[in-house]
Amino acid sequence: MPTPRLEARHASKTYGAARVLDDATLVVQPGEIHALIGQNGCGKSTLVKILTGYHAPDAGMELAVDGKALSLPVQWRAAQAAGVSVVHQDLGLVDHLSVSENIGIGGFKRTHVSRRIDWRAQDRVARETLGRLGLDIDPHAPAGDLPASHRAGVAIARALRDAVPGEGLVILDEATRALPREELARSHEVLRRIVAPGTSVLMVSHNLEEVLALADRVTVLRDGRVVGQGLDTAGLTEADLARLMLGSTVDAVVRSPAVRPEASAAAEVVGVRIDGHDPLDLTVAEGEVVGITGLPGTGFEQLPYLLGGARRGAGSVVTSRARVDLARATVPQCLDAGIALVPERRITDGLAVELSVRDNLALPTMRRRGRPWLVRRGWQDRLAARAITGLGIRSRGPGALVRELSGGNQQKVLFAKWLSVEPSLLVLHEPTQAVDVGARADLLRTVGETAAAGAGVLLVSTEPTDLVETCDRILVLHPGRPPRELRTSDPDDVLEAIYGVPTTAPSTVDTETGALHV
């Protein structure tokens, strides 16, 4: 066994009471493409941030590059000197500057006498590094004019600029996310060229298709622990990886279906158009939980925002309270019709984190409960108290700022906020994203209770376990196909239905998609 390029052992990170990374091990060999995968909140970004010196690890971690120990917390300059470089998710390119400048930034070649930037030498470095990646890009072109795959190449070239061919480790922190799927083959070639002389690549990703296509070996994290270390990708399928990432249904939330056969419809969705999909018709009965899922990035994620009036679209929704035409709908109209939307991004769309739990909870009901000249505190306090006990929100009290809460508790606040409007149709988007197991159970139990109280629930999610544990039926949406309906309690059935279909191009319909990985 050769000396590993990077060897990290006993990596842990604790925030207060929460252990987000627990004794993780990561070993990357020379000349391999190693993938680090896991759900949001599994600890993979924490691990990368420890490696790049952004976070200090808990005591006890060991880290070595090419057998030489690095002192902890990581000093980024020392790591760089040892050959570690990183390409960030957003690539960090300045669009109006040239390719050459974008590659040179942070280490420009300078002339001997005047110490100004030696542009000719700089262009040469740029061309040379790009050449190593097999990319022919004009160093003078503005970075903003390049196609997506070339942009990623430029960012990688910057990372490789000072590396001796055959040495070093490039960390791609979700950097391949920016690539369109049809570029997958192309980026595969670029990565192969990097690792061929012996340089290593660590790619952080959550796209299983990409991981299987590009990586040699994979390390899987779940809830802060390594559940698969350095697995050979040759014998793995996407469903295998998904199962590792999601885990078995340890904390299974068993929900007995609450739909009575004679139940009337809570909401009828008629002819809703999602980009690239056929118009969708759907009826959610009172007390029913309907799951919606599909391949990430194929457009089904728009559904919650269309139904909530946050985004304009074609189609209509009929609830017991009103009929909403989605082409003209506003959020207040959808709210009046009893449609409540729990958005995916709780920090940007869901909660005002600088304000208190009570204020956030009271926001949607304010106009109904308060009079124009006075909003009383009493009902707000009662609402907050009910939410805090009902969902088990851990906080200093109703006056605590949302920012101070953990992710799971923030998500509970977001839930309670929208349950307080007593919706007839509750639309949830990725409700258990980046929350811990306990909070997940509380949240899913609440979904069940909401349905049992007579509301219809639409659960839009890519988590198969969430779907099978809470939904009465699951609709799998594929662009250009009729939705497939599942009634199952086995997450594998869902994965099979999502990934088992030959994939066609994602939402943007592109005719040039010859090379696709099934």
Binding site: A17, G308, A310, V331, P332, L335, L341, P343, T348, D349, G350, L351, A352, V353, E354, L355, D359, A362, L363, P364, M366, R367, G370, P372, W373, L374, V375, R394, S395, R396, G397, G399, E404, K417
Partner: protein, 344 residues
């Protein structure tokens, strides 16, 4: 003051996660170190001047009146409240002083040079203020241009227009009725002092206790969250600019009423003190938030400091130095205290 338990600051600092709190203290008593530190500094400063200013000049009713009832303080209150309204919804308005200038010029020119009825002249001034606010709102809210750019540009425009209308001269307007509207003495203070305090109280009530005010705070904190909660974000932002313009116009009318004339070249000197007071106000009462009562306290804090220093013999330059330093030091201190209280 009530007889509720007075806890030392350290007890407040240690606030572990608790599921149930035994007995909640009222909101205004929580975290007193962060909320009232500026008041303590204010008191200490006043005490210092009390003893340091020679000849006992500081402890006279005249001093009290020049801190709380000076024309400058009253104008600053209105101008600062105008800034608070836009800042609360997350916007910036750098044109308030110029809007005040054009409004005051309008009133003075109409009432003084053209002998228009003072009431009508004042209404015209308010109309101009509302119009200026609507112009800002059009570019910022409807066209989506950065509020910094728009209000800086429009402010300069209004300043120029005011110069044109007034030919860069003093414009006097003597109207006994208008003067008494601002300067009638009530319990030893000019009546405009009570207008300012009343305005701050009304605004504080609006923000804390009405759906409109709560919506404004959410728009400032996160406009997307507000929109998804059914708040009509655009009209409220628009309205904030218009209301800000109207309040700036009131500030201008106050100058004309109490001085009896207006010199357009002085209007820009009001911008920085007003903004300084608003930001300094984020360090008191509701730390970390733009709040009217905190702004009011900040204005009087600054006035006290400047008057005291002038009585100690410092020249007028001390005014700017004190505004600037007071702002930076007080906001920094408040942040330090607040971070400490959070317990990291």
């Amino acid at each position: 003051m009530s007889d509720t338990e007075q806890l030392p600051a350290t007890a407040v600092a240690a606030a572990p996660e608790q599921l149930t709190e035994p007995r909640r203290r009222p909101a205004w008593l929580q975290n007193p170190a962060a909320k009232y530190s500026l008041l303590v500094v204010w008191a200490a400063m006043a005490a210092y001047f009390w003893f340091a200013v020679p000849g006992g000049l500081f402890h006279t009713t005249g001093t009290f009146r020049s801190i709380f009832g000076s024309m400058q303080a009253m104008v600053l209150v209105f101008l600062a409240m105008s800034a608070v309204i836009t800042l609360v919804v997350g916007e910036f308005d750098l044109s308030i002083a110029s809007v005040m200038g054009i409004s005051a010029t309008t009133a003075a020119v109409l009432g003084g040079l053209h002998d228009v009825n003072p009431v009508l002249a004042c209404l015209a001034a308010i109309g101009v203020g509302a119009l200026a606010g609507a112009a800002n709102a059009f570019f910022v809210v409807v066209m989506g241009v950065s509020s910094f750019v728009v209000t800086l540009g429009m402010g300069t425009v209004w300043m120029g227009v005011a110069e044109m209308v007034s030919h860069n001269n003093y414009v006097s307007m003597s109207s006994p009725g208008l003067k008494s509207f601002a300067t009638t003495s009530v319990l030893g203070m000019p009546v405009a002092f009570y207008y300012g305090v009343g305005l701050a109280l009304v605004l504080a009530y609006l923000l804390a206790w009405t759906p409109l005010g709560r919506s404004m705070i959410f728009i400032g904190a996160n406009p997307e969250v507000a929109r998804l909660a059914g708040v009509r974000v655009a009209p409220i932002r628009f309205g904030a600019y218009v209301a800000g313009g109207v309040l700036a116009a009131f500030a201008g009318i106050l100058i004309v009423a109490s001085v009896g004339s207006f010199d357009n070249s002085t209007s820009s000197s009001y911008l920085l003190p007003a903004l300084a007071a608003v930001f300094l106000g984020t360090a008191v009462i509701q730390p970390g938030m733009f709040n009217p009562l905190g702004t009011l306290v900040a204005i009087y804090f600054l006035q006290t400091g400047i008057l005291g220093l002038q009585l100690l013999g410092y020249d007028t330059w001390i005014q700017n130095v004190f505004y600037g330093l007071g702002l930076v030091v007080a906001v920094t201190l408040a942040k330090v205290v607040r971070d400490r209280a959070k317990g990291a």
